[in-house]
Point group: C2
Chain length 249, copies 2
DNA sequence: CAAACTTGTCTATTGATATAGACAACTATA
DNA sequence: TATAGTTGTCTATATCAATAGACAAGTTTG
């Protein structure tokens, strides 16, 4: 055994305040089961010692998480973890919003926030195999499960082939159903590129996040079974509420 | 057209300092090509106006990125973007560290940081299909490409079946080669679960990151072609240097 | 050389962040 | 009903983060 202990301390002068870092740590500890759901957190003094900060700093972190609805503090009793497991969103050959979350939520749907027709930029044109400047339809959507926003996506389609998909989408609340109505019975996920960043202002608003939250970002291309690109999309998932489960493509 | 503009502003009182948020935005703008590599950034005054903050705040952000080696500032001339594209790490059925980055880097290898034998915890036992408490070998590794750290992984193996893998790993510098030497000629990626969080202190040190950096986290199980679990691992990738490309499983 | 434009440095002020200590308010339990 | 253990509130102080303005130092261009 070579030996080596997993440090888990705190960074000062990092541009990220200590209370925010500790809030993240508590969230992480909850998600790994270190702090059990519906049970009491260690007392504030113990947390302060554990993380090497002042009790008041821990209190700031807890206050933020209470605000976010993750914890509930009760004077004299303790601070309790509310149950809110991260959903596991499957990504594979047949990635579909609604079916993928079956069994984890009782309800889910997609809301169309906005749509427009615009010329394809470099990235979109490449993804859809069009020449730059071709007209494309852009859909801005939010995915919700049990009333909580869990995804925020921007999708582009060839405007000629999928004319009117914005109206159909608003009606059906489903990409799959909309494509089906426009003659695409089946489609496959061709590629998915994954990254992560801090949520920007519009993410914060649309996903109901607190500043400093992290979003997982996927950039994907869907194709027909014979390989023709039909949809290019960028989706943002709040990392605190969703994990992505990669399955067979 | 319903209309809707993508806001891209800044969050105050978030626990994340403005200079850190702006540094992230600049990084993002570079990665999307908004700020071209090897070209000058807009002048500080323009950036300050663009992001709605004071010039000194922008300067703090730039100072951090200069420290990280992303930018170079020259008095009187401007501030320049150094070229450093994100690597694209493929994840699929045959995910292998070395082969996946061929063509993107001239050199890559894995360093064994530490190893130990320990009883399997809940998560590891589940992943490997063992009973809790069974002895497992834990390997702590760092992946490097062209001299820059790009991954930090913890891998667990059944200690009985893969006795001595730590020594073989230290020798060969390759998981695939080590498994091969212990009788596993082929293996497949069975599952991958993906999340993201802020880098903790050990990530910062091992991956040579600045505080506040984001890491992509994958938790994966590798199995033999007949489905027997052989490796359970958690890998951390610096989001600023790596994106994950999901390919056919 | 002069003017315009850029980054670098300095001083000053304000508000947010973090630490420290003391004590109040509330709960559970011996 | 004490007592111990917990969260809540208050005051005080020091440092970091952000804004503001002025000017120095360097580069480019007319």
């Amino acid at each position: 055994m070579i030996g080596r202990q997993g440090v888990d301390s705190i960074e000062r002068r990092s541009g990220v305040s200590l209370w925010r870092q500790i809030a993240d740590k508590i969230l992480h500890a909850i998600s790994t089961g270190d702090f059990a759901e519906n049970a009491a957190l260690p007392p504030e003094i113990a947390l302060a010692e554990r993380y090497g900060v002042n009790r008041h700093t821990v209190r700031s972190a807890i206050a933020a998480l209470v605000q976010e609805g993750v914890l509930r503090a009760e004077q004299g009793r303790g601070t309790f973890v509310l149950s809110r497991k991260r959903l596991s969103y499957p990504i594979g050959a047949r990635t579909r919003f609604s079916t993928g979350l079956q069994g984890q939520t009782s309800e889910r749907h997609i809301v169309l926030l906005a749509s427009s027709i615009e010329p394809a930029g470099q990235r979109v044109a490449e993804g859809l195999g069009l020449t730059r400047g071709t007209e494309v339809i852009r859909l801005e959507t939010r995915g919700e499960a049990d009333g909580r926003p869990i995804s925020r996506a921007t999708a582009w389609f060839d405007a000629r082939r999928f004319a009117g998909i914005d109206r159909v989408m608003a009606e059906t609340g489903s990409i799959t159903a909309s494509l089906s109505r426009l003659g695409v019975d089946d489609y496959l996920r061709q590629s998915t590129v994954l990254s992560a960043r801090h949520a920007d202002a519009s993410d914060l608003a649309d996903l109901d996040l607190q500043p400093g939250a992290i979003v997982l970002v996927t950039v994907a291309v869907n194709v027909t079974p014979d390989g023709q690109p039909i949809q290019f999309s960028e989706s943002r998932f709040p990392a605190e509420r969703i994990e992505l489960k990669l399955s067979a493509l």
